[in-house]
Symmetry: C2
Subunit: 452 residues, 2 copies
Amino acid sequence: MPATAPNPKKTRLEALQGVFDSGTLQQTARLLNALTPAEIAHFLESLPQTERQLVWELIPPDKEGEVLVNLSDEVRDDLIEDMDGQQLVAAVADLPLDDLADLVQDLPETLSREVISSLDSQHLQRLKAVLSYPEDTAGGLMNTDTVTVRPEVTLDVVLRYLRLLAERVPKSTDTLFVINRDDKYLGALSLSALVTHDPDATVAEVMSLDLKPIPADWEARKVAERFEQHDLLSAPVVDKDGKLLGRITVDDVLDFIREEGEHQFMGQAGLSEEEDMFAPVVDSAQRRAIWLGVNLGTAFLASWVISQFEDVLQQFVALAVLMPIVASMGGIAGSQTLTLTIRGLALGQLNAGNSRWLIIKELAVGAINSLIWALVVAAIALIWLDDVDIAGLIGVAMTLNLLIAALAGAVLPLILHRLHIDPALAGGVILTTVTDIVGFFAFLGLAKVFLM
Amino acid sequence: MPATAPNPKKTRLEALQGVFDSGTLQQTARLLNALTPAEIAHFLESLPQTERQLVWELIPPDKEGEVLVNLSDEVRDDLIEDMDGQQLVAAVADLPLDDLADLVQDLPETLSREVISSLDSQHLQRLKAVLSYPEDTAGGLMNTDTVTVRPEVTLDVVLRYLRLLAERVPKSTDTLFVINRDDKYLGALSLSALVTHDPDATVAEVMSLDLKPIPADWEARKVAERFEQHDLLSAPVVDKDGKLLGRITVDDVLDFIREEGEHQFMGQAGLSEEEDMFAPVVDSAQRRAIWLGVNLGTAFLASWVISQFEDVLQQFVALAVLMPIVASMGGIAGSQTLTLTIRGLALGQLNAGNSRWLIIKELAVGAINSLIWALVVAAIALIWLDDVDIAGLIGVAMTLNLLIAALAGAVLPLILHRLHIDPALAGGVILTTVTDIVGFFAFLGLAKVFLM
């Protein structure tokens, strides 16, 4: 690849990629310095292993901690392996609390103990508060860097207070939280409300009651829903008594939504959203092997079903030619319903009330499509093989399998969801097992009954 | 379902669902009134058709426009069908410009003309500016509701100016944009910077140069990347000359990321992310039929390959029993690589420089796993069928198919991407066609050569 001249149309990342490819390490280091930690993380993830190590060495030490936070788990673990405790403690010293909590939970025991013992007692106490909630809850997502005010003071006092705090007001602050003497959350004072109202007004007069506090034990999915549906930039998190614990900012919600989408997409192929594109070959092979093994089990199950009909197959070899069609069409139809149902569940739009409707509707869709495609397949089979019996059999088998596929696609995720098994991960394998077995069994079984 | 008493642990949406199920329309209307438009849209999407119409009638007219904006395309079209032009014009009258632009682009010709002709000339001009950019670019995402200030004024003047604007400052404002006399973007003054600095300082002294403007022709994907990597709440959009055109807010980026994730997930099953879970049965059946038709074509292709080996199958019926295993394992292994590659492309982490590495790595992973599973399958086949020849053949065929699968999974999305074909939609079908055909051809072809 030729050396790339700086181009205003390119992002800084694209420019960096160009410079890195052309091989001048000094220039790379200079460009790296200008990037945000998230950009550096993105760049590291897109590098093969050896180059990744090389670039990691060039990153300014004061950015190492935030870069680590932004990396996917796998790439992070890989880089941390080569750091000693002291290096790591230095890197994470200035991390915000929510990021530190995420990181500590993923560190090996010895390293996490070293990091924790480096904290002063105030930080330690706050970290423990965040760590006491599971990672995928509001409490786990929150940071404790809130700026709070009292309802009875005037906006002018608030403005003077903020100027006093100055640098200690987190840059991402868009809203101040109003609390009473007992730390109970009362309402929100957005900075835009603060600067557009009369300075003599009191906080109580101007504050908004619309920003409802989020209980610390809410699932992250529900928090994301709240942010999306109310267009929030930040939201207060409270404990059971309504006491303000911290705040969640939209950037963490954005990360969560991105990861949830990747989880659904990657899960269908048995991959984790944390998978490193350039993981060592042996690691990758090992992880994939599990998924291949599970699928091999289901494939042999289907084979066993076929083996029960060896006598019919021997007599009518055309059955062997056509049988994959019945199974595969069932798999396709079923996975359409499955995908729709999994999305409905992920969005929280499916519940006891309307899932009955969905099942009925999907069965109706399945009925229409099974009849249409049964006729088409039967017609093609008739023209191709000139055998009315086999054409009729494949039509009936297709109808059956597409109906079962619709039912399984709609019901399976609902059952898995209730059993707390992730439908995005397990749904596809189970579904195709069902449609393979039903497809082969219906087609070959009918043939055995009617042809022999 | 029994009537549900209000429960503080429930979200308002869950409470609404309970009240609606228990059948008191008046109570439902009251609860609806308390919801945000996005919440109402979410609720409507989760309702079957007849109930959806019923609830739509209960929505306060002043919220109808924003509810429409928040609905998925399909549900929206369905509801708009029953509105006349006048109703629609009234509903969209107060929409923000970016939302109005999105909506107008999706309306039928006659309705969109009616809406446009209802605008005053200032609004019309602004709408045209937004509409002149494709929907999935920075220009299409932006809104024109920026608050701008000059660099030479003091913060005190800015504060007085904002108090004067008062209600006209959009609620979601977190940052003011600094422009010169020619409307050129110079920098950003966040409200948190405004309230924490000395009022006598000038804007130029306090403003940040870190918030780089986004060119209006940037793709939405790139805009999202910028927001994620810089933790932005809003960002300025400029034209080719650096003139400020408008701003993009993080809530629109959030929607985009959510939709992109759904697009990848749903696309694999040939569904659109706009698909209505409760679409009319005939509409659903029709849309799904296309995907089933495409897959039927590929299934018959595989059948034709099998039919070329009828003579071997007739003689060795065990081949018919085992052949689906070879094809299906290839499909699974290939789709793992495919998924990883598609994600890399979607994140912008795959490029000419590192895709070579990915292909080599995936081939190496494929080589390891193909050998392992070829041995396992051969061993099981040997024990099951007690036939050394067939066990050997299936082992060799598996090895071949898993290698081809790894190659196809890595290369296919890269080719499709370059041809501007969406790999998330077309990748899976093409891949399984390849692995089916290679699997059947390798296994049966080898059998024909060595067994007959």
